[in-house]
């Protein structure tokens, strides 16, 4: 029974997409050719959609909260979508959205992986929905080849890996042994962040990398791996570099269980527990991409273009695919990040790209 209804839904979905596609081609053929934001939508007609993997991840939940904050700022509400890290579900949700009224649709999307981005981009382009993506896209997919894919923003993992590497070196006094907990080895984030650590090590020759292991971005795996590394290297370990905060927190638990409080730990992502640990002084540093800002900015870019306040053609090429600013958090500035709030000024149409650190290379 479930099967039938799914089947029907799929058929209806395909039909609707097909209808939408025909609609588009007809207008184009008719010469009406509505180019991006030619006439502009009335602000109240804009539909705002934010989509992330799941709300059980504090970072992604704060992203959607930031989207809500922006929506409230312009008197709208954001539709919050989550797909549980399931690529198929993400595509289904997008198809359903695009099958509806797409005239003034603005989507701020976190694609599940690089390969999930192209179908989303193609779908939005065909349906004429304004799209901003973050974090994941294939390197050879150019935003400038599309009219409705307004912008893609991500963070320079090499930079953040280096930032926390340097903070760790400083915390252990510039010399001593450290171990690294890598993320899922075949992801770009893990590779870039580790490359950043290697840069930092090159600049701090007295710091020695004793071991590097993967804990797959997972707190539980990091706990086990750290325990093993602690028995392997013992007191030689002065610091632990983790490619994300979840692993850093797992490492902290392992240190606590081993009765060690002389080891500095750094991570990336600025999840709430890590901030608490930095406040307590048990953890040294983390890096924030500012989730709430990410949730707001994608919608803001789409909204400004949809309402005609910003013409899509006026977005400079270097702002179509760019690195956004990230913030190193240590004990002295952690208070500013404990309850992050969005700043309305960041989302003003003439200020959208103020956090750019340059075009993606």
């Amino acid at each position: 029974m479930k099967f039938t209804s799914r089947h029907t839904a799929a058929v209806v979905g395909v039909t609707l997409v097909a209808a939408a596609l025909t609609g588009c081609t007809e207008t184009a053929a008719g010469g009406g050719g509505e180019t991006a934001a030619a006439e502009g939508c009335a602000p109240e007609d804009v539909t705002l959609v934010g989509q992330v993997r799941n709300e059980s991840n504090p970072y992604e939940a704060s992203w959607l909260d930031g989207g809500d904050a922006f929506a409230e700022q312009v008197g709208l509400t954001q539709e919050r979508l989550t797909y549980d890290g399931d690529s198929t579900r993400q595509q289904e949700q997008i198809s359903q959205l695009l099958a509806g009224d797409t005239d003034c649709l603005v989507m701020n999307i976190l694609p599940n992986g690089d390969s999930d981005t192209p179908p989303i981009v193609e779908g939005a382009e065909a349906a004429g929905a304004y799209l901003v993506t973050q974090w994941n896209k294939p390197a050879d997919l150019n935003v400038t080849d599309y009219d409705y894919w307004l912008s893609h923003l991500t963070y320079n993992g090499v930079e953040s890996g280096k930032q926390i590497g340097d903070a760790l070196s400083e915390a252990i006094g510039g010399s001593g042994g450290i171990v690294a907990l890598q993320g899922i080895l075949d992801t770009g984030a893990a590779k870039d962040r580790f490359a950043g650590l290697e840069e930092s090590l090159a600049a701090n020759p007295d710091v020695e990398l004793l071991d590097d292991q993967t804990a797959n971005f997972s707190r539980a795996e990091a706990l086990e791996v750290t325990k093993t590394l602690l028995t392997k290297h013992g007191d030689d370990i002065k610091g632990i570099w983790a490619a994300n905060d979840d692993m850093a927190l797992g490492a902290l638990e392992a240190l606590q269980q081993a009765g060690r409080d002389d080891v500095a730990v750094v991570g990336i992502d600025a999840v709430p527990d890590a901030l608490t640990a930095i406040e307590d002084g048990t953890m040294t540093a983390t890096v924030s991409s500012d989730g709430p800002w990410q949730g707001g900015i994608g919608l803001a870019i789409g909204y400004c273009v949809a309402t005609g306040e910003l013409a899509a053609e006026d977005i400079a090429d270097e702002d179509r695919a760019w690195y956004a600013e990230q913030f190193l958090i240590e004990q002295d500035n952690v208070a500013d990040f404990v309850s992050p709030e969005t700043d309305e000024a960041d989302f003003a149409c003439d200020n959208l790209f103020s956090r750019s650190q340059g075009a993606m290379s």
Binding site: S56, P58, Q213, V225, E253, P272
Partner: protein, 338 residues
């Protein structure tokens, strides 16, 4: 089996009577031998591996997997598959984190909270069993569904803010040691013994075996099989629930993903230990040997210094080799699983 016939004869006479199973066959001896060999190889290669503190570490690291595997072994003995561990563990992890002293609410139920979490998990396990016998959903799908339900329940309770526990007892389980081992390790040992007693001395355990061996025969002899199947899944759920509580104790926080990956690592451990996927063979002790094998392997590869880029592949190869070695005497029977 070509050793002195006299010795073999006395063995058979003793072993055949009480139980239909053969005595210590090659199949049963394989995994323990593999464990000893693996341990020896790593100990020879790495001075860090053969330290006392690392042996402690291996045993502590095996605790959670051992409890999950206790549960899954009964299901495998019946010839069913259980993929519900991640969901059930997630639900119990969040439940217990919200019921003991934590940063989300004012609850402070202590041991009662642990009990409730295990009961919630048992209820979810019971749901799998009911779906199997009442709705005739294959166990593979039923348990996958229940896992999703568990994750859903956990996500709802999670509500965006991670519950961190401050309950002294639960945190102590992971930190405090008794005779050199963490309390969690003793809990796991107690579970293994309890599960073994159930398997050996109760009707539930024996029927689980019999269902996996020849369900039709059992049914034809007038045994109502269905209630036992539900009971086995309920018991498995309770074990997963306890494992979820243990993960919460280790991590100091209730995570929705507390059980991620435990379904397949537990099945792997059970199979490596000699529990057959078609049911009717193996048991708790065999599975526990499998758990130790898997844990020693994970730990040893790090101690020896195998690059993380190679570890996944090397680990997979060794596991396949170990299973192959264990089941060679059983090849014909194993073919059934394709």
């Amino acid at each position: 089996m070509t050793t002195s016939p006299a010795e073999a004869d006395t063995d058979v006479v003793h072993a055949q009577r009480p139980r239909p199973r053969r005595g210590v066959s090659l199949m049963d001896a394989g995994p323990p031998i593999a464990l000893v060999v693996l341990f020896g190889v790593f100990a020879a290669m790495s001075p860090g591996f053969r330290t006392f503190s690392n042996v402690q570490n291996v045993l502590d690291a095996a605790a959670v997997l051992a409890v999950v595997t206790c549960g899954i072994s009964f299901v495998l003995m019946m010839g069913s598959i259980d993929l519900s561990a991640p969901g059930i563990m997630g639900a119990s992890a969040i439940t217990v984190a919200l019921l003991v002293a934590n940063n989300r609410n004012d609850n402070d139920l202590g041991l009662v909270g642990v009990l409730v979490a295990v009961l919630v998990a048992a209820a979810l396990g019971c749901l799998s069993g009911l779906a199997l016998v009442v709705l005739k959903v294959p166990s593979f799908m039923a348990t996958l569904g229940v896992s999703a339900v568990g994750l859903g329940v956990a996500t709802l309770m999670f509500a965006g803010v991670q519950p961190n526990i401050s309950d002294a007892m639960l945190e102590g389980w992971a930190v405090e040691r008794f005779l050199g081992l963490a309390r969690l390790t003793w809990i796991a040992l107690a579970c293994v013994i309890a599960a073994w007693l159930v398997q050996r001395y109760t009707r539930l355990g024996r029927y689980a075996f019999a269902i996996g061996g020849a369900e039709e025969v059992l049914a034809l002899s007038g045994v109502r099989v269905a209630p036992y199947k539900v009971a086995v899944f309920t018991m498995a759920g309770a074990f997963y629930g306890l494992a979820g509580v243990m993960v919460t104790s280790q991590l100091g926080a209730g995570l929705v993903q507390a059980g991620r990956g435990f379904d397949f690592s537990a099945i792997t451990a059970a199979v490596v230990g000699g529990t057959l996927l078609i049911g009717g063979r193996g048991g708790i002790l065999q599975s526990t040997v499998g758990v130790l094998l898997v844990t020693v392997l994970t730990n040893g590869l790090v101690q020896v210094g195998v690059s993380p880029y190679w570890q996944g592949g090397v680990q997979g190869l060794i596991v396949v080799a170990a299973v192959a070695a264990a089941v060679i005497p059983q090849r014909r029977r194993n073919q059934v699983t394709k």
